[in-house]
């Protein structure tokens, strides 16, 4: 009976193309039923292992709780968060520090003092100074890039054990002096005589003191991401109500997952001078009425993207332990999942800024030789409710598939009962550099807990880029 329910449910969105709205109630009640649904269907492929390529596994992964910026982590430095994630990973996996060959971290807004934050965090977490570490940046998919960099190092035989992670501290961002002020200060450094110094100082003007904030806007287009998300919602005819409903779903599912203790990747973090933080603090299920009261945040006064249906500025860090399968087994580990095919995509940063998942999903499935039906757990990054819904509409549109994706037919929708069932970035938070690892670990943990073989992780990022990866559950 459950399977009939599921089947009808899966067909639901695609049959109601013209009026694409979510009915949340069935989703919420359905998610219980889904858990009993084991991966009994036959898959297109038994495994994604490839001959002559090393199997790469994620042994385990952790994250410190994701917090609203400006809360408990606000007095720390970014590498402190990364350090806490590393310590948590060491504790969780008991991996001897010396077997780690390399560390990679992703981050977006860089603290200039720790521009190679991976190295500072590793040293601070007690890793040997002999272990190299580097930092990568690819906007919201920075830690995805960190992980796939690790995969590359292992696959090419350079390393056996890599720690990958990501970190973001939005509570403290580098606000700079203005260019004119910096120039004057630098020139002052070089000035040799008092006369030269005075001459320079005499050029000082009050407006030199105006600070320079890190750009919140896309550099190439000058448009903020929220603004672009709002335009995209309009382009795909996504209504405010649909967005609010989706955001509410995210918060409700996250709350449930939190309450049931499903978010096992979270490790507690004793913040110096403060209480131990044990859980994410952004999960706040509200009501549609309350959400409807909010004013648009970007396109005023008639836009549809609001604070309630967008992800919020978040502090947090995450880390995963990646190994070659034979190494993990030799060390006696029981890995959580294989990391399989992955790819990155890129589109127009103006009008298709956040459509990465729609483009990347069909491509990664094709690359792996799987279909949508093979996937048991979808974990998509939720930058904005409008972004998720626009991606859905893009995937559900033959017109879009034919005119923009070079496909004959539409991609099709991921069934909602398999989609972000433990909440997502909208509710759990989105520390830019750290979200990727959370997605992979959530997919792996969901497969381990609910059964199922394949998970699909997808995310969008500034610059019009996107990423997708197939995660295969490690057999029990």
């Amino acid at each position: 009976m459950t399977s009939i329910l599921i089947c009808t449910f899966r067909n639901l969105p695609s049959t109601s193309e013209s009026h694409f709205t979510f009915s949340l109630i069935p989703v919420l009640t359905q998610s219980f039923a889904v858990q009993s649904h084991k991966a009994t269907q036959t898959k297109s492929k038994k495994t994604l292992a490839k001959p002559n390529i090393r199997n790469i596994v994620v042994v385990d992964g952790v994250r410190i709780p994701f917090l609203h910026s400006g809360t408990s982590y606000k007095d720390l430095m970014p590498h402190d968060l990364a350090r806490a994630a590393l310590t948590g990973l060491l504790h969780r996996t008991s991996v001897p520090k010396e077997v780690v060959d390399h560390l990679v971290f992703g981050t977006v807004i860089q603290e200039v003092k720790t521009s190679n934050i991976a190295k500072e965090a590793a040293l601070g977490a007690g890793f040997s100074e002999k272990i190299p570490a580097h930092t990568v940046s690819m906007a919201c998919i920075s830690s995805n890039q960190a992980m796939t960099t690790g995969v590359g190092l292992i696959a090419s035989g350079q390393c056996d054990v890599v720690v990958a992670g990501g970190v973001e501290l939005m509570s403290d961002i580098p606000i700079r002096h203005s260019r004119k002020m910096r120039k004057m200060m630098l020139d002052l450094n070089k000035a040799k005589t008092m006369g030269q110094r005075l001459a320079l100082i005499s050029k000082f003007r009050l407006n030199f003191l105006a600070p320079e904030l890190p750009a919140v806007a896309e550099f190439s287009t000058g448009e903020t991401m929220g603004h672009s998300a709002d335009r995209m919602a309009a382009a795909f005819a996504v209504s405010r109500l649909e967005q609010d409903e989706y955001a509410l779903r995210s918060h409700s599912l996250a709350k449930k997952a939190q309450d049931e203790g499903l978010l096992s990747d979270v490790v507690p973090f004793k913040v110096p001078g403060k209480d131990t933080v044990t859980k994410d603090n952004g999960v706040r299920p509200s009501s549609l009425e309350q959400m409807a009261k909010l004013k648009p945040a970007f396109i005023k006064p008639y836009g549809t993207v609001t604070a309630a249906n967008s992800s919020f500025l978040t502090d947090g860090a995450s880390a995963v332990l990646i190994m070659a399968e034979e190494k993990a087994l030799a060390m006696g580990y029981k890995p959580k999942a294989y990391m399989r095919d992955f790819l990155y995509v890129s589109q127009d940063p103006k009008d298709q800024l956040l459509l990465g998942p729609a483009y990347a999903t069909p491509k990664v499935l094709e690359k792996a030789g799987l279909t949508m039906n093979d996937i048991d757990a979808f974990e998509f990054h939720e930058a904005f409710a409008s972004q998720i819904l626009s991606n859905f509409k893009a995937m559900d549109s033959d017109w879009f598939a034919q005119n923009y994706m070079g496909r004959k037919t539409k991609v099709g929708l991921p069934p909602l009962e398999k989609f972000n069932t433990w909440g997502g970035s909208l509710s759990l938070g989105h520390p830019f550099g750290a979200t990727g690892c959370r997605l992979v670990m959530t997919a792996a943990n969901r497969l381990q807990r609910n059964g199922g073989q394949y998970g699909l992780v997808a995310a969008c990022a500034a610059g019009g880029q996107g990423h997708a990866m197939i995660v295969e559950a490690y057999p029990k």
Binding site: M232, A234, Y302
Partner: protein, 763 residues
């Protein structure tokens, strides 16, 4: 302060120089029977909001004509009568055009000023009904909203515009020698303030949506959308409509007010404008400025000021009456006929009569990174052409690259480009010293030094490296293309593309075809020129082609006049007083005395006496002393970096004194001097048509106005003959011929026209 702002806003007023595509669109009358269902306008009702969609049939743009007007009246009456409808949205179904203006043919087909006045009064009364509508009306603007379109929009209660590059608002009537005749002169000052309104109506410039929002011309902006469930343009219009409908509802529900919050400066300005003394000062200053710039040659700007003044000082009724009467009067003036004619011709010269070339030009190579070469490169990369800029030396190349960058960067400063767009456009340019990549070039434009031997050398070099299909275009102002093509292995691929300096500002491109140039080569050149945003005339090869050939006899007369003792300053003021944008002596300095010398020698040899009169000695001596004009810092005037006022070059006195000839008093009045210059120009232009150098008079007019600055108020040499009368032109020529000789002998075609008064260049 207010006055100075008004003046500042007028700075760009230059009817003579910047003739942009105005908002009046020429379209043939489509006589739709009144019995048919509505063809121009339809409307649907969304909830309690009527959505009125404007869609002129069989046209890319919507224009206000009698049919559309009648249907609008009908539809609006239905809306006002309906109990179900509480508000309305006016929108166009055409992406890229709200309403581009009134139908220009509707106006030019009127025989009397009364007819035109009546058209104006009908529109006035309709728009007044819209303004006074008890049900709020929202104009949803996407694309051009010009002239009558703007007047309709500002009579609505609320305006929402798409914030894209195609959406522009403006009152370009002045560029056609008329005024906004549907209430615009009365509503605009109330909406954007008196100085702002004068600026819009007197310059006729297009205002982008974001600027319009700042000025208070529109109330809300809608961002253009990217791809979604439908093509972007289609969905953007839909979205605009959705947003407009919500605002219309809120207006009907009185949730929002159509009144706009004004900024502090705006409040102060409008307060100042309530003081009669300040208003008078503003009128006075604006009038002075207009007088100074138009030299009284253009009646429209002065009438606009008068009508605005009447409305403000004597009330609406007087204002509307004055507007409709002056509108009628202006439409009958020679100036307006000349400007409208010019507009028609411009539209023709923006079309590709030669069809698409067999192979699209995607890779362009330009030889010579000088002023012209770099200018051509700039207008090419701008439109996405991959362009190679080649020069022989690194410093010359660097200078050229810098020129292209500066040109683009100026647009960033004016905010019409972002710095990022600038960089990405600039990446289309490759600067190099060798012929690498020429094997992929679809067209090569050479802009090397004007010397036949050098041109031959590069032609041979280039032909060794380019593919077979590649077009070789020569940017020369006087060297006959057939002579350049003489050394070519494939003369059918050789063509002339004569650009005007500065290339990014001057709209004209003169394309020169030889006997051997193939149709496809011409099609290629025209296509590239149109891509570069040029207005194109295609002429036959011959010494000086068309433009240079017309200019040369006039320049020869300039020298003669200078020899007769008229000073350069006086000469300049006489020529600008006739309507030329640049004085004759200044023009010589700008073109370069050496170039002028070169050209006059060449053409003198080719055409003999007709190009004589002024002594060639003057230019020779100037060249030998290094007085080459602006580029050398000295010509007739002295040019210094950062100094705006020009001083006469006193070293010229001795040269002029040595060549002095006695003036002939009976043909040396100010008017005679002006006509001696203009009739020689006109006579030569007509001769070009007679000889088949020119294909049509329209191209002749466009070439003269856009390339040489022939007074736009006269409409070009051919329009001038039509309006002024061929007989009178011939009479003048005969009188000067008697005094000076053969250079003034009227050509046969001109005489033919004089002999049969029904003969006109434009029927």
């Amino acid at each position: 302060m207010v006055a100075s702002r008004a003046i500042g806003s007028l700075r760009r007023f230059a009817a003579s120089r910047t003739f942009r595509p105005p908002g009046y669109i020429c379209r043939n009358f489509t006589r739709s029977s009144a019995l048919l269902a509505r063809t121009y306008i339809n409307y649907g009702v969304k909830g309690d909001v009527a959505v009125v969609r404007i869609n002129s049939p069989n046209s890319k743009v919507n224009t206000l004509n009698k049919e559309l007007h009648a249907e609008l009246v009908e539809v609006m009456n239905e809306i006002w009568a309906s109990d179900q409808i509480r508000s309305a949205v006016l929108i166009s179904s055409k992406p890229g055009c709200f309403i581009a203006g009134a139908d220009i043919n509707m106006l030019s087909s009127c025989k009397t000023s009364q007819e035109v006045t009546q058209i104006s009064q009908e529109a006035q009364s309709m728009f007044e009904k819209v303004e006074k509508s008890p049900k709020p009306i929202v104009a949803a603007i996407s694309g051009s909203c010009l002239g009558g379109g703007l007047e309709l929009a500002i009579s609505c209660h609320y305006r929402i515009a798409t914030k894209d590059k195609k959406t522009v608002l403006g009152s370009p009537e002045v560029l056609l020698g008329i005024l906004p005749g549907a209430g615009g002169t009365q509503r605009l000052p109330k909406m954007v303030g008196i100085p702002g309104a004068f600026d819009m109506m007197l310059t006729g410039r297009n205002i982008r949506a974001d600027k319009a929002k700042k000025m208070g011309l529109v109330d809300q902006l809608v961002e253009p959308l990217g791809p979604g469930i439908k093509p972007p343009e289609e969905r953007t219009i839909e979205y605009l409509e959705e947003v407009a409908v919500t605002f219309a509802k809120e207006l009907a529900d009185k949730k929002i007010s159509p009144k706009r919050d004004k900024g502090l400066v705006e409040k102060l300005t409008s307060y100042a404008m309530t003081i009669p003394f300040i208003r008078q000062q503003v009128y006075k200053k604006v009038e002075e400025k207009v007088q100074k710039q138009t030299k009284g040659l253009y009646p429209a700007p002065l009438k606009i000021i008068e009508v605005v003044k009447t409305g403000i000082e004597q009330g609406n009724d007087a204002g509307y009456l004055s507007e409709s009467q002056k509108f009628g009067e202006l439409a009958m003036t020679k100036e307006s006929k000349a400007l409208m004619g010019l507009y028609h011709s411009q539209v023709q010269c923006k079309r590709n009569k030669f069809g698409a070339p067999q192979k699209d030009v995607k890779h362009l190579a330009i030889l010579g990174a000088g002023l012209m070469g770099a200018g051509i490169a700039q207008v090419s990369v701008d439109k996405g052409l991959k362009t190679i800029l080649k020069d022989a030396t690194l410093p010359a190349l660097g200078r050229g690259q810098q020129q292209v960058f500066n040109g683009l960067n100026d647009k960033v400063k004016k905010k019409s480009l972002t710095s990022f767009e600038r960089d990405s456009i600039f990446s289309n340019l490759t600067g190099q010293l060798d012929y690498q990549g020429f094997e992929k070039a679809d067209m090569v434009i050479e802009a090397v030094f004007e010397d036949l031997n050098i041109k031959h050398k590069v032609l041979k070099e280039v032909e060794a490296v380019i593919p077979d299909h590649c077009v070789f275009a020569s940017n020369t102002s006087a060297l006959p293309i057939s002579k350049i093509a003489a050394v070519s292995k494939r003369p059918e691929k050789v063509i002339g593309m004569h650009y005007f300096s500065p290339v990014d500002k001057m709209q004209l491109l003169e394309i020169i075809t030889t006997e051997k140039t193939s149709k496809d080569t011409t099609a290629s050149a025209v296509t590239v020129g149109l891509q570069q945003g040029k207005v194109i005339i295609v002429v036959k090869d011959g010494p000086g082609f068309y433009t240079t050939r017309c200019l040369a006899p006039m320049m020869s007369e300039v020298i003669k006049i200078l020899q007769e003792g008229v000073g350069p300053k006086k000469l300049d003021s006489l020529t600008t007083g006739f309507g030329f944008p640049v004085g004759a002596a200044t023009l010589m300095d700008e073109v370069g005395v050496d170039v002028a010398n070169h050209v006059s020698e060449d053409l003198g040899k080719a055409f003999g006496e007709r190009f004589g009169s002024g002594s060639g000695e003057l230019l020779k001596q100037m060249v030998s002393k290094g007085f080459l004009g602006r580029k050398s810092g000295k010509g007739f005037y002295i040019y210094e970096e950062g100094v705006k006022s020009k001083n006469l070059n006193s070293d010229m006195d001795s040269i002029l004194a040595s060549l002095k000839v006695p003036p002939k008093p009976d043909v040396s009045s100010d008017e005679d001097i002006q006509y001696r210059l203009v009739t020689r120009f006109v006579n030569e232009a007509v001769m070009c048509l007679q000889e088949g150098i020119l294909a049509t008079p329209a191209e002749g007019d466009i070439g003269a106005v856009f390339g040489l600055g022939f007074p736009p108020c006269l409409g070009g040499p051919f329009r001038f003959v039509d309006l002024y009368g061929a007989q009178k032109v011939v009479d003048r020529l005969r009188r000067y011929e008697a005094a000076y000789g053969k250079q003034f002998t009227p050509c046969q075609l001109l005489i033919d026209h004089a002999n049969s008064p029904n003969k006109k260049f434009y029927q």
